[in-house]
């Protein structure tokens, strides 16, 4: 089921030797429509030695990310991640638009909706609302300019009703809560 005016947030977290992930789909008010999380995976030290960095990539991208995206029932119109390494696999697996989103310390741009090139390739600064610093938004390589523009307009529309980065923090809180359980 595809929900109109919805954003998907995805985190694949690797702390204390365990990897886990969660996805949260919200409407433009930030109200959850779908939330999925994985059990943590703890590869042994021996497995880490045997497979090296390939293990981490496999667990994050092939296992956690694909499993989450496969399980989500309410498909968002735009997937957002806060880890640049996830951006390309997210785009390839999610089959919908994807972007990396992070805060910046840049001075506000002139008007809401304005876009300015950032230092990194495929990244821009986006003034999503009038009450915060511009956001750093990165798109997967080979994203067409009009596609990036549409995604930026979509984010500006959502920012009228919610704080765009806030759901990332909510997922982290959910992780803490699940740990306590």
């Amino acid at each position: 089921m595809a929900a109109s005016n919805s954003l998907g947030y995805i985190i694949v977290d690797g702390v204390e030797g365990q990897i886990r992930g969660a996805s949260l789909v919200v409407d433009f008010r930030g109200i959850p429509l779908d939330f999925r999380y994985t059990d943590p995976i703890r590869p042994s030290r021996l497995e880490r030695v045997l497979y090296g960095s390939a293990l981490d990539t496999y667990l994050r991208e092939d296992l956690v990310l694909q499993s989450l995206l496969g399980a989500v029932e309410v498909k968002p119109q735009l997937w957002l991640c806060n880890d640049l390494d996830l951006l390309v696999p997210l785009r390839e697996t999610g089959k919908v638009r994807a972007a990396f989103l992070a805060s910046s310390s840049h001075a506000p741009l002139e008007a809401v909706g304005n876009i300015e090139s950032a230092a990194e390739p495929n990244a821009v600064l986006l003034q999503a609302d009038a009450v915060s610093a511009p956001l750093r938004v990165a798109f997967p390589p080979n994203t067409k300019p009009d596609e990036a523009q549409q995604a930026a307009e979509f984010l500006v529309e959502a920012a009228k009703m919610m704080e765009l980065l806030e759901p990332f923090g909510r997922i982290q809180k959910a992780f803490l809560s699940l740990n306590e359980d």
Binding site: R29, A54, L55, T57, V131, S132, K160, E163, G169, S177
Partner: protein, 195 residues
């Protein structure tokens, strides 16, 4: 006689005879050959290396991307075959069991997530409008918020953030902001104001 001439030459002419052509008979250096041939023993005689062509036919090879070739860990799995790998301590690892180990369960946590509040930071420094009345100071601004969808609000005093619980069934979308104001004076309490 020759000795006498030599002494005179050394004394008057500062000449000394230099003898050359010593009859040194050095032995030719010995060249040794390896007496013990090195034998190479294969630890895994049954293990055949996977080539890119064989991976391709199995559909496991990912095309090169910006980070170069990547081989899925699944590619090197030996199905049904016991693959032994030796370390210095003769430890045996059965890689065929890895797939079973990494089965991942994805859980639906929507009901728990609906109980989590959203968090709004104080963004007064970005907000140009202040609803200041005479004798009043604005302490914070939280937004955007959907006033008619709010069930509960709580101020987290330690971090200065506002926790917001929305009614997930609400159909309201009208946005607003919430100011925290305080009248100047002793004993005056802060008050909330929707704008």
């Amino acid at each position: 006689m020759a000795g006498f001439r030599d002494k005179l030459a050394r004394h008057f002419l500062n000449q000394a005879e230099v003898w050359g052509g010593c009859d040194l008979s050095l032995d030719a250096p010995h060249v040794y050959t390896l007496q013990h041939p090195v034998t190479v023993h294969s630890l895994c005689p049954r293990m055949a290396p996977l080539t890119t062509s064989s991976l391709k036919t199995r559909g496991r090879l990912q095309l090169p991307n910006s980070r170069g070739f990547r081989f899925s860990i699944v590619s090197v799995k030996a199905k049904g075959t016991r693959v032994r790998r030796y370390s210095s301590r003769e430890l045996r690892v059965y890689s065929a069991s890895l797939k079973k180990k990494y089965t991942l369960k994805v859980r639906n946590g929507l009901s728990q997530m609906l109980e989590f509040p959203q968090e709004r930071t104080n963004r007064l420094k970005w907000q140009t409008f202040r609803p200041n009345e005479p004798g009043e100071v604005t302490l914070a601004w939280y937004g955007p918020l959907i006033e008619d969808a709010v069930i509960k609000l709580a101020l987290e005093k330690g971090r200065g953030t506002l926790l917001v619980w929305y009614n997930s069934q609400s159909k309201q979308f009208k946005t607003g902001g919430l100011y925290l104001c305080r009248r100047l004076g002793v004993g005056e309490k802060p008050e909330w104001r929707w704008v």
